[in-house]
């Protein structure tokens, strides 16, 4: 069986697996967020946290809760890293330096999982398990909560209440993330992923690091987090031992972002609305897979850094999926991709992480883009623009605009300053266009909360730790606040009935429009920068 056929079979298997779980799992998630019942465990949590699960929040309160919760998460993670030396299972790795601890704390709370550290030599098991892994769950649940709040904005009318953040957070964690991650941790152990509290094993005099990998591997992919327990991430045989584990990990990455479109369709009462978003995500994901795959298959570069264990198709599939979902786990070195292939992974992030994007974030990002597209489309059919029964006026467009502006702003400002800092030249492995690609990739990854690294750039100096940390925080929370504000203003509106004059948003025309908007916004914003990086490389 040739590599290509094997690759196509993997893609086919992946799509079949997703298709099988799409309806039941999507509908299950819809029930999770619409059910009025609380489980005993949840009630205990609410009692302990002194939360009244019956009370609902305005958008401002919801946003404050998100920010406050995330801020506490950052502080806790920072402190854990800084006092690591007194915690168990630290194996003498000592306290994490302030810059690195700051960067890492933000990185895991923002669901980015950008890693400026080498886990095996920096993080102890306690920090990993109590700190980083906990945030892998919580940051994912936060993303889903925000997406659900936006859906409620579309669904509800003439109310200022968007639901209760603490309830959404708890349910997402307990009813969705924990059971699925638990199940797949066991499955991954079965495929050979390591699960050990030891610091390493010594074989033939060589010590190879080990860790409680499997339990974190499952949520790393399921929550589109991407932070590896081992430095080589999913390229490491302990994290990703074989073809099956590779495919399972890709499946886990796509599971929630893909099925949330079903949740969306079910919740808004028109499943076609969900299918059309899935269609747009699928088309862009497939197109970019084709670009990266062919670029890698036909690449003329030397094999330096190329992954040979999984081969080109599996590397392309993983790379495309991880960059299109804001995950950032890698099973191959993106820096060693061809100009076009590497540029493809970069472009995936620059689309704004919505093809299909991260857990929750992908859904709300594509809905924001749909609002912009429908605003223009509404004008072109001569009606005050509307989407899903809500008018798109001044407030809605402003909120959507802020949400869309955040990522390019922090990314371009960060990368722009980095490009002219003298210290940057020393941090890069490569000069010229590939060097610029490395800078662009780092800031795109941080600003989009992806977390994958082109590598090839040493990001441990204070400037990179601080600036990338700020990019991750702003790239995460500005859109979240804007999206919640948008949800608030949508919820206040009456619902506009669907009439014969309503522009349908379930057909190929809307899909084309939305796809065009995603591509055009990314292209127009980033073509100048890309021209000097990956485009110059690819045309060589």
């Amino acid at each position: 069986m040739s590599e290509t056929v094997a690759g196509l079979l993997q893609v086919g298997l992946l799509i079949v697996a997703l298709a099988v779980v799409y309806r039941p799992f999507g509908d299950y998630m819809a029930r999770v967020y619409t059910s009025t019942k609380h489980s005993r465990v949840e009630r205990a949590i609410y009692r302990t946290a002194r939360v009244d699960p019956g009370s609902e929040q305005r958008w401002g309160t919801y946003a404050q809760a998100v920010i406050a919760f995330s801020f506490v998460g950052v502080v806790v993670l920072y402190v854990l890293q800084r006092i690591q030396s007194v915690l168990p299972f630290d194996f003498g790795r000592g306290n994490v330096s302030p810059g690195m601890a700051f960067n890492t704390a933000i990185s895991f709370v923002t669901n980015t999982n950008w890693q400026s550290y080498v886990p095996e030599s920096v993080m102890g098991h306690t920090t990993q398990m109590v700190g980083l892994t906990v945030q892998n769950f919580l940051s994912a649940a936060v993303g889903m909560a925000v997406a659900v709040a936006l859906l409620r904005g579309f669904l509800r009318s003439q109310t200022d209440r968007l639901g209760n953040f603490w309830v959404d957070l708890t349910r997402g964690t307990i009813r969705i993330l924990l059971p699925v991650a638990g199940l797949f941790a066991i499955v991954l152990v079965a495929t050979g992923v390591v699960m050990s509290l030891k610091s390493g094993v010594t074989v033939d005099g060589q010590t190879v690091a080990t860790a409680p990998v499997a339990s974190q591997e499952a949520i790393k992919e399921l929550g589109t987090n991407g932070g590896g327990v081992l430095n080589a991430n999913s390229a490491h045989p302990f994290e990703n031992p074989n073809g099956w584990s590779n495919l399972i990990e890709i499946f886990l990455i796509l599971l929630i972002p893909v099925c949330l479109t079903r949740t969306f369709g079910t919740m808004v009462g028109n499943r076609k609305q969900g299918y059309v978003l899935l269609g747009v995500m699928g088309v862009l994901w497939t197109a970019m897979l084709a670009v990266i795959w062919t670029a890698e298959a036909n690449g003329l570069r030397p094999l330096e850094g190329k992954e040979t264990r999984f081969g080109i198709p599996s590397s392309a599939l993983f790379a495309n999926t991880t960059t299109a979902t804001s995950t950032g786990a890698v099973n191959a070195m993106h820096d060693s991709f061809t100009g076009l292939g590497g540029g493809g992974t970069l472009l995936n992030m620059l689309f704004g992480e919505m093809t299909p994007g991260g857990v929750g974030t992908g859904l709300y990002s594509i809905l924001v883009m749909a609002i912009i597209a429908m605003f223009l489309a509404g004008l072109m059919v001569g009606r005050t623009p509307e989407y899903l029964g809500k008018k798109l006026g001044r407030r809605e467009v402003a909120a959507a605009a802020v949400s869309i502006l955040a990522m390019p702003t922090v990314m371009l400002v960060g990368a722009g300053i980095a490009a002219i800092l003298p210290a940057t030249q020393g941090a890069l492995n490569n000069p010229g266009s590939h060097g610029l690609s490395e800078i662009l990739y780092a800031y795109a990854s941080a600003s989009n909360n992806n977390g994958s690294a082109f590598a090839g750039i040493t990001v441990t100096n204070d400037w990179f730790q601080a600036s990338l940390g700020v990019c991750m925080a702003l790239g995460r929370f500005i859109p979240i606040i804007a999206v919640l504000c948008l949800a608030g203003s949508l919820a206040k509106q009456k619902r506009v009935p669907v009439t014969a004059g309503t522009l349908p948003t379930t057909g190929p025309l809307f899909a084309t429009l939305l796809t065009g908007a995603i591509v055009l916004v990314a292209a127009l914003t980033f073509i100048p920068a890309l021209a000097l990086g990956p485009i110059a490389e690819a045309l060589l």
């Binding site: 605003f375 223009l376 509404g378 004008l379 072109m380 059919v381 001569g382 009606r383 005050t384 798109l392 006026g393 001044r394 809605e396 467009v397 402003a398 605009a401 869309i404 502006l405 390019p408 702003t409 371009l412 400002v413 990368a415 722009g416 300053i417 490009a419 002219i420 940057t424 010229g432 266009s433 610029l436 800078i439 009456k494 619902r495 506009v496 009935p497 009439t499 014969a500 004059g501 309503t502 522009l503 349908p504 057909g507 025309l509 429009l513 065009g516 055009l520 916004v521 127009l524 914003t525 980033f526 073509i527 100048p528 920068a529 021209a531 000097l532 485009i535 110059a536 045309l539 060589l540």
Partner: protein
């Protein structure tokens, strides 16, 4: 005094001072105004053009520091971009001013004689003042007739030459300031303050002085500002990347790139589109109180249309001859024709028409028939007819005739079906008059209404016919006209309830009305168009007044509202789609020196880096001028489904927007390369 008023002959050309056609002369005429708009205070109102304005200053400063043909040319064309944007707005305002002037002409300064005997200038009238106006005098302000009856010449405002009757009480009591009383004497109670009348408000709107941005325009401005910020970031960040790559760019080139990328086309034309939209409304003799109302018109989901006058002719037309008492159909047709040959009323004409079209009779009287003496309709006899020697042919209301039981049944049946029966009698057979039969007069649906409603349905608008008729008649007419729904035996309260019900479901409702009892419904409707012939109360309650008092105008108003939004959306799409070609022109020009492979992006084969950049800048400026006529006229609008409209506009303005600049920049480059110092 005969009070029959012929239907006024419309002469719409009269008020169309500024014709819809755009002439290059208007550009020249508006030049001084355009120059005045360079003031920073004015530029600040438009974020996109403000960026161009600042860029022009920046480039000028740098061009002075480093003068060359290229730098000076870029500076000149950036200023030209600002100028063209100013020009677009000035032309639109100029046309608005012409409209305003024609409206202002109606505001003759009249002296008002109060009932107290005092004389005050028309500009100093207060609400509630009672003013006496006699034949030959100009009515000094808007108000209601509270005493007397008079014929009034309203041609100054409506363009209709036929005088109209205005009388106290009832629905024809409103008079407009600036119109002239032709006969008799009336006392008018002033209802609006001078300077706040409908005409005053409209003048302010079309002149642009009071033009406030509509909600939709604000939302679009936010989107355009967002795009501007994104491009500002992309271009500003490009410099450090260029420095990193060893190819630092000049401020002039970066500014040129920025101006080419930000949505200048729509930014320049946005206010012109809005002004022109109001202008188109005035050209159709509709006055609106706000631009918001015009936009709302584009969103209408439900149209309430009065049956009479809108859907049907209102006057009754002959549709059937029913012989009675053994008389032959031929005899009835002949008698009916004879009685109506000299009858000039619409009913009479329709009878002759039916005889001609259905029964092959002649429309022209024979010489013998001409000799007959026409007996006109009087209120006493309630019949009309013709005397031919001894022969007396009559037609008229049933009450004027002695009816058999059979005839009575026919007459009652026609009445019950909402028609009007006309009884025909003839005494040719013997000495006494015999009833030959009954003519059925029906309310006839205007031709073309069915198609019109089908168009509206395609646009997603539901039409509801409102009528005082009984449900049976209403249904028959509703079916014939093809409206979606009807409200029979409607009282004003029912209309109001219907509007409320529709609005509760989130629908936007438009209606027309003229009577005082329509006022609450007009106020409740999202778009309320009051007829100019109506009462002041109705006009105050609605947000538009139709000077022609033509209820079908509502359909045109909806189209104007839609066209306004479509023009904005189409030009925004075009503007953004243009950027792709500009990247292909400018990026290779900037960076082919450091990365020769980027020269491959120069798909247009532009001559040199300088000519490429300049060509893109020139195209960006000229496209504004090219699109001014489109902005003023509005993009072509054909009623169709939302999807069809979107598909069409995406194709023309989206795809067209991608392709056009490739051709345009390539062509301009062919000329620009000839300039010494550029090529």
């Amino acid at each position: 005094m005969t009070t029959t008023i012929n239907p006024p002959q419309r002469t719409p050309e009269k008020t169309q001072v500024s014709a819809g056609i755009f002439s290059p002369r208007q550009l020249v005429d508006s030049f001084p105004d355009a120059l005045r708009k360079f003031h920073p205070r004015h530029q600040l109102r438009n974020p996109v053009m403000f960026v161009v304005w600042v860029g022009s200053i920046l480039v000028t400063v740098f061009a002075i520091g480093d003068p060359s043909t290229f730098t000076i040319a870029v500076a000149v064309w950036l200023w030209a971009t600002v100028l063209f944007a100013n020009l677009a707005e000035a032309v639109a305002e100029g046309r608005g001013k012409a409209q305003a002037d024609s409206l202002r002409k109606t505001k003759k300064d009249a002296v008002a004689r109060l009932t107290t005997g005092e004389t005050v200038p028309g500009t100093e009238l207060k609400i509630g003042d009672l003013v006496v106006v006699e034949a030959g005098e100009v009515i000094p302000g808007d108000g209601d007739v509270v005493e007397g009856i008079a014929t009034v010449d309203e041609s100054a405002i409506t363009g209709e030459s036929a005088p109209v009757i205005r009388e106290s009480g009832g629905d024809r009591s409103a008079v407009t300031g600036g119109t002239t009383v032709l006969s008799d004497r009336i006392v008018v109670q002033i209802t609006t303050k001078p300077g706040e009348s409908f005409v005053d408000r409209m003048i302010a709107l079309v002149e642009g002085a009071e033009r406030q941005k509509t909600p939709n325009e604000i939302a679009l401005t936010i989107l355009l500002s967002t795009l501007t910020i994104i491009f500002l970031l992309a271009v500003v960040a490009l410099q450090p990347f260029a420095i990193f790559s060893g190819g630092e760019q000049s401020v002039i080139v970066l500014t040129a790139l920025l101006v080419c990328l930000i949505p200048t086309t729509i930014g320049a034309l946005l206010s012109a589109i809005g002004i022109a939209g109001m202008d188109r409304l005035v050209q159709r003799n509709v006055l609106a109180t706000s631009g918001k109302a015009v936009e709302a018109a584009g969103d209408i989901d439900t149209l309430l249309l009065d049956k009479t006058g809108t859907i049907t002719w209102g006057n009754r037309r002959a549709t059937e001859f029913i012989p009675v008492g053994g008389a032959s159909l031929d005899a009835l047709v002949d008698a009916a024709r004879l009685s109506s040959l000299a009858d000039g009323t619409p009913e009479g004409r329709s009878i002759v028409e039916l005889c001609v079209t259905e029964y092959g009779r002649s429309a022209e009287p024979t010489d013998q028939e001409k000799a007959g003496e026409f007996v006109p309709f009087t209120a006493q006899t309630r019949m009309s007819g013709i005397d031919l020697g001894d022969r007396r042919v009559r037609k008229g209301a049933a009450s004027g005739f002695v009816l058999t039981d059979e005839t009575r049944r026919v007459v009652d049946e026609i009445s019950a079906q909402g028609g009007t029966p006309l009884v025909v009698s003839d005494n040719s057979a013997g000495g006494t008059s015999t009833v030959l039969g009954v003519i059925r007069l029906s309310d006839v649906v205007k031709p073309g209404m069915r198609d019109r409603f089908a168009e509206l349905r395609a646009m997603g608008i539901r039409t509801v016919m409102v009528t005082g008729d009984n449900p049976l008649t209403a249904k028959a007419i509703a079916d014939e006209a093809g409206v979606d729904d009807y409200l029979a035996e409607a009282k004003p309260e029912d209309k109001m309830a219907l509007i409320r019900k529709e609005q509760e479901g989130g629908r936007l409702v438009a209606m027309t009305g003229d009577g005082t009892n329509d006022a609450p419904a007009l106020a409740q409707a999202d778009v309320g168009v009051a007829m100019n012939t109506g009462t002041s109360a109705a006009k105050e309650a609605g947000n538009m007044v139709d000077l022609d008092s033509d209820p079908t105008k509502l359909i045109e108003i909806v189209e104007i509202g839609k066209q306004l939004l479509i023009t904005r959306g189409a030009l925004t799409t075009f503007s953004v789609a243009n950027d792709l070609a500009k990247y292909f022109a400018i990026l290779p020009a900037m960076f082919a020196a450091i990365y020769p492979q980027l020269g491959g992006l120069n798909v247009m084969g532009l001559h040199s880096p300088n000519s490429a950049i300049l060509s893109a800048v020139v195209f960006n400026a000229l496209i504004i001028v090219v699109l001014i006529p489109l902005a003023l006229r509005g993009v072509r609008y054909k009623p169709s489904s939302a999807s069809a409209l979107l598909r069409r506009n995406l194709l023309i303005y989206g795809l067209g927007g991608i392709v056009t600049p490739f051709a345009g920049i390539w062509l301009i480059d062919l000329l620009v390369r000839l300039i010494p110092g550029i090529g």
